[in-house]
């Protein structure tokens, strides 16, 4: 199946004009499948970490949102044990005018500002709300242990 123009354009731009702190490289066998890394944003407990993600563009992309998940273990209230991400733009608020680039930026922003009120990993969110200091400490530890 030939690759839609939209995907070619986006890939070209991701390579020629990359977002600082984010890389996205398409797989050789499957150009709809991307290996992604996101650097932990400075000022967040994930600072200094390099997080691997996988991203897949479904057949109906861009009418459907890309599928993204973390491959690196991460302690975050909106990311569960399997690396699935709870983010509005990946679900109900997806629009075909959004791009891989904008989605990855949103994920990076999610690392800077966790939202324990809309949790995916309940225990993490619980900890985040009851003892934020401790939660941030754990997140930092995990970053050092898993995201180097």
């Amino acid at each position: 199946m030939s690759l839609p123009k939209r995907i070619i354009r986006e890939t070209e731009r991701l390579v020629s004009d990359p977002v600082p702190g984010i890389t996205a490289v398409p797989h050789e066998d499957n150009l709809r499948y991307f290996n992604v890394t996101i650097d932990g944003p400075s000022g967040s407990p994930y600072e200094g970490g390099k997080f691997k993600l996988e991203l897949f563009l479904p057949d109906d992309y861009p009418m459907l949102a890309p599928k993204v998940r973390f491959l690196t273990k991460i302690y975050h209230p909106n990311i569960d044990r399997l690396g699935r991400i709870c983010l509005d733009v990946l679900k109900a608020n997806w629009s075909p005018a959004l791009q891989v680039r904008t989605i990855l930026l949103s994920i990076q922003a999610l690392l800077s500002s966790p939202n324990p009120d809309d949790p995916l990993a309940n225990e993490v969110a619980e900890e985040w709300k009851s003892n934020e200091q401790n939660a941030i400490k754990t997140a930092r530890e995990w970053t050092e242990r898993f995201a180097q």
Partner: protein
């Protein structure tokens, strides 16, 4: 309403004896249906009937549009904006009017995804130049584009159409995430129109290409050759079919019939799906009916797009569906396509079983508890290691396969006590007694369950087979009817007989499920008699359908009519008798149903 109520001496007397209120009620009855036919059962029990009206999606669509117009006559903001507001407020007119008067108009409009500008706009559809690139598909101009009235986010028409089509609700935002505007029906109508026009153009283009491939108009010789080719091909097919004998012809006919029905449905759906605007309104209707789930039910049959509108009760006592069900009535309704289902639980027709019985029955059938029932009834546990053991023959001297413990199957005592004597001597042993009693009770309830389950299954399977078999035959009869030049109405009895038969099978099926939960009593005995009476009538009519060759079916019309009528009467009576028993609480349920 029975005919006698309309027997007036003269027109004048009739007219003068009816008050305005009554007139209104009368005009209602034209379109309103009842969950059951009579106000009183044959035994004089007055029943409470639920009123309902089968409606189709376009009727509701019309009502909603009228509703929007009404609200707009107050708000005066234009029907398009009003439609978005109503959708946003989930048809809560009062809340909308309240907010409209209290909130700052600009804020309200912004919150609801409406532009603060108003007025007439044009140029939603525009051909963009080569500098344009669609942000969705990245194709470059010149290309036809679409935008909403009050924003400047242009996308190519194809993308816009695909985008709107992909959304399941009536509230579709402009694809640009920073723009909060909703697509309004009027704008959608423009997009829909251009989409249709393009589809037509495409078709025309394809036709032209085909013609070009053929190289200009055909000469009469070419047409003749083409015709002969097609004719010989189809006669080949016919030969191949007729060689396979009776059975496969039946199948072919059945398949044809099936295909025909399916095609009709598909065509209808396709038409709705094709036109963007009607798709949009269907989504709006669905949102509305879901919001008003107390009044509307979507027919649960596959691919059926009909609705049932609840119209209250023919009763002073009952005023809600919940109450109705609590009184053990069963609100079975019939949609415009003839599908019968329960308004309360939206499962298919399940009279005379109440909704509670149906829930319980389905759960019982699905539950593993019955499997364990079987295990307790048919196996005994090894007294030592507790492995379940099924005795599949041989003597009572059992040796456990797991722990090799030897025991007596009858008293479950150690076999060493039986060594010199094969007659079990410890019959009165306390342990053994308990064990036996436990197994006895579980065996009785298992047998009862299996008994009713078998009956239920038999009818369920028959129902399925009958539906297939009769659909085949029906098509055949239609064919015969055409060949014998019998009018449609003459052969209509056949369709009716099928319907009656299928309906009665459903009733029988569920009556067995109900029976399982009833305590034995005189009343239950009476219900069983009614049931077996209905069952006999069903069998009698069912037998008629075995008539071969099918040509004889038309000749046997009288017989069909007699049997079907007898069945119908028996069915009505059966439903009534069950209803009386249930509603008057004359019959007791086993404790765990309520």
């Amino acid at each position: 309403m029975s005919a006698s109520e309309f027997e007036y001496e003269s027109e004048e007397e009739y007219a003068s004896s009816v008050s305005f209120d009554e007139l209104e009620a009368l005009s209602l009855t034209d379109s309103v249906h009842y969950t059951h036919k009579n106000r009183q059962t044959a035994n004089g029990l007055s029943t409470h009937r639920m009123r309902y009206k089968p409606v189709e999606a376009d009727e509701i669509e019309g009502q909603l549009k009228a509703h929007i117009r009404d609200v707009d006559s107050i708000l005066q903001i234009g029907e398009d904006d009003c439609a978005v507001l109503m959708l946003k407020y989930e048809w809560n007119e009062q809340k909308l009017l309240e907010d409209f008067t209290t909130k700052e108009p600009g804020n309200l409009r912004r919150e609801c995804g409406l532009a603060t500008d108003t007025g007439v706009v044009s140029g939603l559809v525009e051909t963009a130049g080569p500098e344009f690139m669609c942000a969705i598909c990245c194709s470059e101009g010149p290309v036809e584009t679409f935008r909403l009235s009050w924003c400047d986010h242009r996308y190519c028409v194809d993308c816009y159409v695909r985008y709107v089509r992909g959304s399941q609700t009536g509230l579709v935002k402009c694809p640009d995430t920073a723009c909060r505007l909703y697509v309004r029906p009027g704008e959608l109508a423009q997009l829909s129109a251009i989409d249709e026009q393009r589809a037509l153009q495409k078709e025309e283009q394809e036709r032209q290409e085909q013609r070009q491939n053929l190289g200009g108009p055909l000469t009469s010789e070419q047409i003749m050759a083409k015709y002969q080719k097609v004719a010989s091909e189809s006669s080949d097919e016919e030969d191949a079919e007729s060689e396979d004998g009776e059975e496969s012809t039946d199948d072919a006919l059945f398949n044809f019939h099936e295909r025909h029905i399916r095609q009709q449905r598909l065509e209808k759906q396709e038409r709705r799906n094709k036109v963007l605007l009607s798709r949009y309104w269907y989504a709006v209707v669905l949102q509305y009916t879901k919001k008003h789930a107390r009044t509307f039910r979507n027919c649960p049959a596959v691919d059926c797009e009909c609705f049932i509108e609840y119209r209250g009760f023919d009763s002073d006592v009952i005023s809600s569906v919940e109450e109705y069900v609590a009184h053990k009535y069963i609100p079975i309704v019939q949609c415009a396509n003839g599908h019968r289902f329960c308004f309360a639980c939206t499962s298919e027709d399940h009279a005379p079983a109440t909704c509670a019985v149906v829930r319980k029955w389905i759960q019982t059938c699905a539950d593993e508890t019955e499997t364990s029932h079987w295990i307790t009834a048919n196996t005994k546990d090894c007294p030592k290691c507790s492995s379940p053991i099924e005795k599949n023959g041989g003597c009572n001297h059992m040796t456990c396969g797991e722990c090799h413990y030897q025991f007596c199957w009858i008293c479950l005592g150690d076999w060493s006590r039986h060594k010199n004597n094969f007659v079990c001597t410890s019959f009165d042993d306390e342990e053994a007694k308990k064990e036996r009693e436990k197994q006895e009770t579980s065996r009785v309830s298992l047998k009862k369950y299996l008994f009713y389950f078998d009956l239920f299954e038999i009818h369920r399977v028959s129902l399925k087979k009958d539906t297939e078999f009769l659909a085949k035959l029906e098509y055949k009869v239609q064919e015969i009817q055409q060949r014998a030049k019998v009018s449609w109405i003459e052969a209509h009895f056949y369709r009716e007989s099928i319907d009656t038969l299928l309906r009665c099978r459903i009733t029988l099926m569920w009556s067995y499920a109900l029976m399982f939960y009833l305590e034995s009593s005189k009343e239950k005995g009476m219900l069983e008699k009614t049931q077996s009476n209905l069952s006999n009538h069903v069998e009698a009519l069912s037998k008629l359908f075995e008539i071969t060759p099918t040509e004889n079916v038309i000749k046997k019309k009288e017989m069909f009519l007699t049997k079907a009528n007898a069945l119908k009467t028996s069915h009505e009576k059966c439903i009534e008798i069950f209803m009386e028993s249930l509603v008057l609480n004359r019959i007791k349920f086993v404790s765990d149903i309520e």
